[in-house]
C-alpha cells in the first residue's frame, strides 16, 4: 500500500534550513521559509534584530542558505540600500535584495530608514513579518498591535482594556510613498504570499509586503493552530489580503462569507478579557474597514 504522489503547489527548494530555534509552530519562521522559496538562491537577505534574526543565527550556526546580514534593529532598510547600491557598483543587478523585518523593526523603530529607502526608490523587496508585538523580548506592544490586544505593556485591567490605539496602517503608508508594489499577505495563504513575493521581486524599485504571522506564545493559542488562526484572521476580515500595483488596489482574496470576528478573538488569550460590547465594537471597526475596501474595489 502506498500514498499518492505529492503535487507541490509551491517550490520544493528549502532555503531556510531546519535546526533553527524558532518556537514550535512559529508563523514568522513559516513566513520566511515560504518567501525564500519565491525569492530563490540569487538573493541577499538583510534582517533586522528580532525573533527571526535571533533564532536563525546562533554562532557558529546559521539556518540561511542564502547570503545574509544583520546589523541592528532599526536600520535594515538602510543596510539594504547600501547592499543594493554596492551590487549596482559591481554591475550585479541581477541579484535580488530582500529584507525580513518584524513589525517593531518596520512600523516603529525602523520606520525612518524604511521611509528613506522607499522614497529613494531602492530596488529592494521589503517583507514585514508582523506578529503584532515585540515577541523577541516577550510580548510588548508595538505600533502594529491591534486594538484591545493585551500585551505585557498594554495589560487588560480595570482602567486599560489592552491596546487602546488602532493598528498602524503600514501598507497604506507605503502606498503613499509611491512604492510601486505593496501587498498584504498571511501565512495561511501560501500561494497568495508566494505569488506576491514573485511580483515584488519582478518590481523595478521598492516593493513592500506586510505578512500577518500568528505567534503561539504571544497571542496565546496552541502551536498547532497557527495556520487556523491565520485563516480566521482572513475569513473574519480582521486581516485583508490585497495588493496595490502602481497605486491600483485589488483584493486578492475575498472570504465567501465573512465570519464574525468573535470566532477569531475567542481563540486567543490576548483577547480573552473582551466584553460583548468590546467585541461588537471591533466588529463595527472591521465592518467599516471592509466597506472602505469594497469601495476601493468598486472604484477600480
Amino acid at each position: 500500500m502506498s500514498g499518492r504522489k505529492p503535487r507541490l503547489p509551491i517550490p520544493k527548494e528549502e532555503l531556510l534550513a531546519p535546526g533553527h530555534r524558532a518556537c514550535a509552530g512559529c508563523g514568522s519562521a513559516l513566513c520566511v521559509r515560504l518567501c525564500l522559496k519565491a525569492l530563490g538562491r540569487n538573493t541577499i537577505v538583510v534582517t533586522s534584530t528580532g525573533c527571526i534574526e535571533v533564532t536563525t543565527t546562533p554562532y557558529p550556526e546559521t539556518a540561511w542558505e542564502v547570503p545574509w546580514i544583520h546589523v541592528a534593529f532599526e536600520n535594515a532598510a538602510a543596510v539594504a540600500s547600501g547592499v543594493e547600491r554596492a551590487l549596482k557598483a559591481l554591475d550585479r543587478e541581477d541579484v535580488t535584495v530582500a529584507v525580513f523585518s518584524g513589525d517593531g523593526g518596520t512600523v516603529d523603530i525602523g520606520f525612518q530608514a524604511l521611509s528613506g529607502m522607499a522614497e529613494r526608490g531602492h530596488n529592494v523587496v521589503y517583507i514585514c513579518y508582523d506578529n503584532e508585538a515585540y515577541m523577541n523580548t516577550g510580548v510588548q506592544r508595538s505600533g502594529a498591535t491591534p486594538p484591545y490586544a493585551a500585551t505585557t505593556t498594554t495589560p487588560a485591567g480595570k482602567v486599560w482594556r489592552g491596546e487602546m490605539r488602532p493598528k498602524k496602517d503600514m501598507p497604506r503608508i507605503m502606498v503613499d510613498h509611491g512604492v510601486p508594489y505593496v501587498a498584504t499577505a498571511c501565512i495561511s495563504h501560501p500561494q497568495d504570499l508566494i505569488k506576491k513575493v514573485e511580483k515584488a521581486k519582478e518590481t523595478d524599485g521598492p516593493a513592500y509586503i506586510h505578512v500577518l504571522c500568528p505567534c503561539p506564545p504571544g497571542w496565546g493559542y496552541d502551536s498547532s493552530e497557527t495556520v487556523e488562526i491565520g485563516e480566521l484572521a482572513v475569513d473574519t476580515g480582521m486581516w485583508v489580503l490585497y495588493e496595490v500595483e502602481d497605486g491600483e488596489f485589488r483584493l486578492t482574496y475575498r472570504p465567501r462569507e465573512r465570519k464574525p470576528v468573535e470566532e477569531y478573538l475567542k481563540r486567543q488569550k490576548r483577547f480573552q478579557h473582551l466584553t460583548e460590547e468590546e467585541i461588537e465594537e471591533i466588529q463595527r471597526m472591521v465592518d467599516e474597514q471592509w466597506e472602505e475596501l469594497e469601495r476601493l474595489e468598486r472604484e477600480r
Binding site: S2, G3, K5, P9, A17, P18, G25, L30, E61
Partner: protein
C-alpha cells in the same frame, strides 16, 4: 565548546549549519503520517515552519531529527492522515 572556530567578524561560512542542532529533541508529540490516507495535497509540506515535511516518491516523509512537534501538519491535513502521538508511547 573549545572546538569552536572563531572567524574574523564572526562570519559564518557554512550555510544551513543549524542542521547540526537536532530540534527533534524539543518534541513531545510526534506526527505520524498514514500514507494510505494521504491524498498528496501537500498542505503539511507547505505549512511546516521547520521545513521538516519532505515530498517523497509516495506521500511525504517527516524528518523527525528536526520536527519540533508543533502539530500544524496534523491540523491542516484535510483527510486527517496525520496523528499526533505522545513520544513516550512511540518507544
Amino acid at each position: 565548546m573549545s572546538e569552536m572556530e572563531y572567524t574574523i567578524g564572526a562570519v559564518i561560512k557554512e550555510p544551513g549549519s543549524t542542521r547540526r542542532n537536532k530540534t527533534g529533541r524539543w518534541r513531545v508529540f510526534r506526527p505520524v503520517l498514514d500514507e494510505d490516507k494521504c491524498v498528496g495535497c501537500a498542505r503539511c509540506f507547505m505549512f511546516c515552519p521547520d521545513g521538516c515535511v519532505r515530498p517523497a516518491e509516495d506521500a511525504f516523509k517527516i524528518d523527525y531529527e528536526y520536527c519540533k512537534g508543533c502539530g500544524i501538519c496534523a491540523k491542516v491535513c484535510p483527510v486527517d492522515a496525520i496523528e499526533m502521538v505522545l513520544e513516550e508511547e512511540m518507544e
